[in-house]
Amino acid sequence: MSDESLREAVAAGVMGSEEAHKTLLQSIVDVARAIFHARASSIFLLDEAQDELVFEAVSGEGSDRLVGTRFPADTGIAGWVLVTRQPLVLEDVASDQRFAREVAEETGYVPNGLMAVPLLHEERALGVLEVLDRPNRSQFTLAESDLLGLFANQAAIALDLLQSGRRARAALTGASGEEAVVARIASALAGLEGEERAAGLRLLAALEEVLRRG
């Protein structure tokens, strides 16, 4: 077992489940929708191998059917935002029928307006956050743009966690599967407290000594 796969196995054991990360993403789109009083909000993850964007979390309109659907990474508003790294806010989308139809393909319905912002972590573009149909009463402001940027930052960190978790779990399903034992031990240890944890650590130290001698 290489050092790297060992590290990933331990990471997989302690970093939480796929479900936990998905819950985090869901909570981000739920809060984004609430704060902007929007009709829907979604997070797209870039699948670099396929050059596609995938719906990872949806709040509001479309939440029952969009998660998991995919489209090419360089099309539509989300694709544009991803490739150029530039946030975009569009209103009156529905007034142009052709454009409205294209937007509907990536939103599940025809919104009147949308905000889209790239999810950037360090130098990587991980995906896109969209907020659909803010109330029409208010003109878009730069303060909202800053708020959207803050949200995007949080969403990017959550997406990075999700991807790291997936990579680590993929390592566990490798050819031998030997790393799984290490992951289970790391996971069990992470769940212990106080005297039980201390006893667990003593046992592991003893095991390590035996293994090194062997």
């Binding site: 670099e48 946030p87 402001t141």
Partner: protein
Amino acid sequence: MEAHEELPAWSLPADAVDGIAISADWPERVDRDWAWGGSTGAGVRVCILDSGIEAGHPLVGEIESAVAVSLGEDGEPVVADDDEGDLCGHGTACAGIVRSIAPDCGLFSVRVLGGGYTGSGPVLLAGLRWAVEQGFDVVNMSLSTTKQQFASTLHDIADSAYFKRTVLVASAHNMPVESFPWRFASVISVGSHEGKGSLELYYNPTPPVEFFARGVDVEVAWLGGGSIRASGNSFATPHVAGICALVLAKHPELTPFQLKHVLHLTASNVGAP
């Protein structure tokens, strides 16, 4: 340095001083009337490095030429004539804004989008390099990259443009990430203000963003001859590209350094009312 450049003069012998005399016809106080009064941008070549342009759009009119950059089978970028128009609407929006400010300028489309996410970095570099080689007067870049591996090449191309009198006008980023080329001192970087005036331009005394232009709730050209309302630094940038075209049409001798100085002196918070 980019390849195939002529070597510059490295020093100035005494007998060469007269040869570089430059007529100092700048007024005592540079104002907007001197800078671009009466100008329509005629004769200035503006390149839109973007998603393509919908030629014949009522807010854009005719364009001079359109090319697309893509990756060939060998993985090397290829520049070819483009008849796809605009794949997104964004390039048309930028072209329409430039046209609204400089109605008689020439518009040239260089499409660097539409080839997938994965190859987008090399395509962007190749498109910009090609645009600089064509000697366009102004290049509008409402896009950026976060990839560190491209930063050094982009920096070289931006410097090359600066010395060849091609002005790069680039959208700044309003998020806490490093991106390029807008951070380079050789380009004119643009962020948004909330005002309604298309000639409302502010100089920022605390860079890296150097200028703020109209970028909120702008009526912009979109696909199919239509228009929508849009916000973002992407739309502030072509406002400055348009103003640059106005100034350069009236004062074609200006270098990018001098042009930036004119923008500074005529900014709404500096010299202009």
